[in-house]
Amino acid sequence: MRGDLNLEELVGQHYAALYRFAVSLCGNESEACDLVQETFYLFSTKGHQLNDRSKAKSWLFTTLYRLFTGARRRLIRFPQHELTEVEMDLPEIPPQPPSHFDWNMVLQCLGRLDENFRAPVALFYLDDYSYKEIAEILHVPLGTVKSRIARGIGSLQQMMLDRAPVPSPRTS
């Protein structure tokens, strides 16, 4: 295995998944493109500090998430709440999950999810990350990730059911 990592190869491997993660977070194409470009730009300037090449992918996702939340400058607006108090208080789960939807509706509903739930739910679906990997990317405890995913999916399903078009009555 080669010891170096080709940036072009890395971009090719991950830019689409990163873009989909970004657009799930911000719901806006141009902002998502900005986030992905900025993430790779940071990698091109700071990626050499990464000692373990196998961590490059999670580094990219973590960096993009941090850029989105603006952790360095914007902690005031998006405080990281620990959700231990709500773990036992998950929302009512709809009797049946929604069944007719497309990516547009999923993105719109994801965009309406609380910030704390949006990223773990997006990662949960986008790239088959394990709970542990999601916890590492988002820098939150494993239990918190599980509860945020469960709570987020419950809310997502309810939103999708609320938005789903009611089938028109058939006229004979």
Partner: protein, 241 residues
Amino acid sequence: MNNAEAKKILIACRPGTDDLRSPEAEAALELARRDPELRQWWHRQQVFQSDVKRSLGAVPVPHDLRDRILAGTKVVKLPLWGRTAVLSAAAAVILLLGVVAVWQRPSAETSFETFRSRVARAVLRQYRMDITTNDMGQIRQFLAAHHAPADYVLPQNLERLPAMGAGVLSWRDRRVSMVCLDSGPQGTVFLFVVDVSSVKNAPRRREFAPVSELNTVSWSEGGKAYVLAGSGGKAWLEGLP
């Protein structure tokens, strides 16, 4: 464990993954085998999980994004794991070639348009003032202390607006000053200042451009490029600088 508790565990489990290998998930699955209503719900839940995954995987990616990323990443230093002297030497040659290639190619990502879009969207997303004061002298001192442009020239109409505070942003490793001014009923206006050498093709004369929900007026003078952004109308904003 009852039916509702089992659902709360299984709702966060993807079929065919390790999500189902925890003791709680196994107990919930065991209950689903015995409970027809829960079994049916779990079946539909699995379909839902697969459909959402497929839907998100179908989100179209802009066709030119890959090229834009590569154009924007100046190959300053690639990560090297397990480097050796030979690898380092080879990397040096590659880097040199990369730098030459980048030098010869106009980079869209340091363009003034990109800068303007980035700072305006930063405000739209969320922002924080690093210093809150109505004393412009203090603001200049703060910005200078943080190596951000502090010797900006405020046009007369902006000089009259009360200052609210300021922040320091980063653009391509250069510092950008963000000065927040109170324009009364039109809300806060944001003046971004960067060294003109940090951006390509900064307009010399006042140039109006909407960026998403904000309007902007940009210009450059005295070695600085300026972007004034606010939510007021075009005529009003153009009258400020």
